[in-house]
Symmetry: C2
Subunit: 416 residues, 2 copies
């Protein structure tokens, strides 16, 4: 096929803007569209751009244009999508040091929907109030939509989500009778797990109406209504003194400008005597999420660098006890999700149409690539108030034996 000199110039420009990753970029009027994407082939992957207008859009605004055009089929990928995205992210990271990525990103750091009380509700509704049957297709059976913890690389996802909950509970040193507050509780799995396996009482907050309704159903089904209360409200409205604060996967939706408010909520809750854990997607340095992700998948989301997260702790004299980076565990979690998602593509297409399928494929694949290649990190930060007396001597106890719930799980398997 022949390209005009303008087309060639545009293609060179796009590759240069993304740090010259090892891939082919072609304008695909004449390209055979029959070869499957995700074929795992080892040759250089190819991005086929269907029309010239898309090529121009890519040159102007590569991240958003790529996401939009991939979603509606104006871009096809020949080769493995995850690996291609990994290569691009690696080369863009290099580029960033030369300044181009930073400049590009700051162009597109738009006035994201601010996470005020009202804005948060709107932003959270867009993602988490999607039909629960959609999430059931590809999450584990307890519906945990956060990074799992894989004691070994080959641990099944169901066990890894259990192990994650136990890892969190053990880091918090939960004791029967402890009063726990959870901020951003998803469909309620962690709250129920803490109550059932650690004998604590839990107040769990969430502003997603659908998730709270689901969690309340589960609570009744499991007979835990005495121990667990699900509250449809904002973290800013948490009240009452508790022993423990925990938040898994909410910080990304708080927005760095609101960490002061969150820190105040935490201190109001656990004071100088309590302890807590936050689990969140982070970055190596302050840097916004991809603008396409913010536009299409997670409006208002921001993954903080550690320097920013310290704003939760330092004004309140909290001691950071432990930070663990579980980046590769999120890549693995997402691999499980993507594979289950691909196994349900027909069903998802029926529910939301092919463009939704392609957008979510890109989001899941891009996240795998991000956690593998480094722009995304996953931090668990354990902290304690200045007068907290429950500080473990070493971390060895976290690794001494199988997590209790996993053990029970194994036992349940054995007797079935």
């Amino acid at each position: 096929m022949k390209f005009s000199s303008t087309e060639k110039w545009l293609m060179r420009k796009i590759l240069r803007m993304t740090g010259d990753p090892p891939l082919h970029l072609v304008l695909g009027r004449d390209v055979d569209n029959s070869s499957p994407s995700n074929n795992g082939g080892k040759s250089k992957p190819t991005i086929v751009v269907r029309d010239r207008k898309t090529l121009v859009q890519l040159a102007l605004n590569p991240e958003v244009a790529f996401g939009e055009a991939y979603s509606d089929g104006r871009i096809e990928i020949h080769g493995n999508l995850v690996e291609l995205l990994e290569e691009v992210m690696r080369s863009m990271q290099e580029g960033q040091r030369r300044g181009s990525y930073a400049k590009l990103s700051s162009w597109w750091l738009d006035r994201t929907g601010d996470n005020t009380r009202y804005g948060s509700r709107k932003n959270i509704h867009r993602h988490y109030d999607l039909n629960v049957n959609f999430y059931k297709l590809w999450l584990d059976k307890r519906m945990l939509y956060t990074c799992a913890y894989f004691p070994t690389v080959s641990t099944p996802l169901e066990d890894a989500q259990l192990a994650k909950m136990d890892h969190v509970c053990r880091k918090l040193q939960l004791q029967p009778g402890d009063k726990v507050v959870e901020a951003g509780c998803g469909w309620g799995a962690l709250a129920l797990h803490m109550a059932k396996h650690y004998g604590v009482t839990v107040k769990a907050f969430n502003i997603s109406h659908e998730q709270i309704a689901f969690a309340r159903e589960q609570t009744k089904r499991e007979g835990l209504t005495q121990q667990v209360e699900f509250i449809e409200d904002d973290y800013r409205n948490i009240s009452g003194r508790q022993d423990v604060f925990v938040s898994v996967g909410m910080l990304e939706h708080v927005g760095v400008d609101h960490y002061g408010e969150l820190g105040r909520s935490i201190h109001r809750t656990i004071g100088d005597w309590g302890r807590g854990l936050v689990h969140f997607i982070g970055k190596n340095y302050p840097h916004p999420f991809s603008p396409w992700i913010r536009k299409r998948i997670f409006p208002g989301a921001y993954a903080p660098a550690l320097s920013e997260v310290t704003r939760l702790f330092e004004p309140w004299n909290f001691s950071v006890l432990d930070v663990e980076n579980l980046r590769m565990h999120y890549a693995k979690t997402l691999e499980h999700w993507l594979s289950r998602f691909e196994g349900s593509v027909e069903r998802v297409t029926q529910m939301f149409g092919p463009e939704f399928v392609r957008a979510w494929r890109l989001y899941l694949a891009g996240s795998i690539a991000g956690f593998r290649s480094g722009p995304l990190q996953l931090f668990q930060v354990t902290f304690a108030g200045a007068n907290c007396r429950q500080i473990p001597w070493t971390r060895a106890y976290l690794y001494e034996e199988q997590q209790p719930a996993v053990k029970e799980q194994k036992w349940m398997h054995a007797t079935r």
Copy 2:
């Protein structure tokens, strides 16, 4: 005894400035001086101020005046010194939130000797170039002058210092043949340990002339001159590409204004592919050391908050993999040191006189109190370059078995 109304007003003022800790403060013209300090008694401890001038100094500038007067005997303590200091630190932390401590400290945040190349040499010389025979009296036999790692509370100091070195080496995943650079190597124990037990080569930097001389002696004695090179130079002059960067107990002497230079040295050394660890005394929030400590014990020292330490990593896209807070281990280490120090008081008095003994007792006791009650933290931060491939799957391997050198140590004991 009778106090004038001015004296009473001064005493009330001093107690108020320190947050009203549970102790007696008396002007001691008439107080019996024969009861020993550190008597472990359970009654409220008493600070006996010998003269009115000292009382006035305390009211003007409590931290420095207390240190100076305790050192030269114008203040006596009836009761346990460590516990008294703990109470004062706790109440001062509370007070700080009301603003008084912060204000006091900022009065005394003097223009500390800046840690330029020249200033660092001067500052380091004052502390670390003291006669090595002095440190031999109370450190472990390998001369580690940093926080040990106690697998159990009752681990002996010698084993705990070995375990610390292994904990660091394992966090760094040292492999035979790795090239390691150590910044601030003390008397050389860690460098020699890494070479001997992990088969790596080490370039170890230090600007203390006495320590480097001692370390070189040890290297010859242990036959490790092919593997370990001790270099009397500043961290800013580190050059050459290495696999691993490690620094244990140096960051406190770098000064927060120079973290940019240190970060640059680290990145110049390990690039995007290497890995590293920094071990340092930290704080819960940015706050200077006690002005007396800076005046008499550690000129130019500063213990950073985590928000400040991120300046080492974020400009270079380093990923923080693990942060461990070993505060209680430093309290325990210092208890061992203080107890050994007290056992050698006669010898130290012969070497440096009674005022030195009292100043160092206060420094060691105050540090125990600081780590126990919270103003001082001890952080180990493990990090890796953006392209580093040696990222452990979980941290379980750190706790799987006895540390190799401790094992060997045990074996050596058994065959003797």
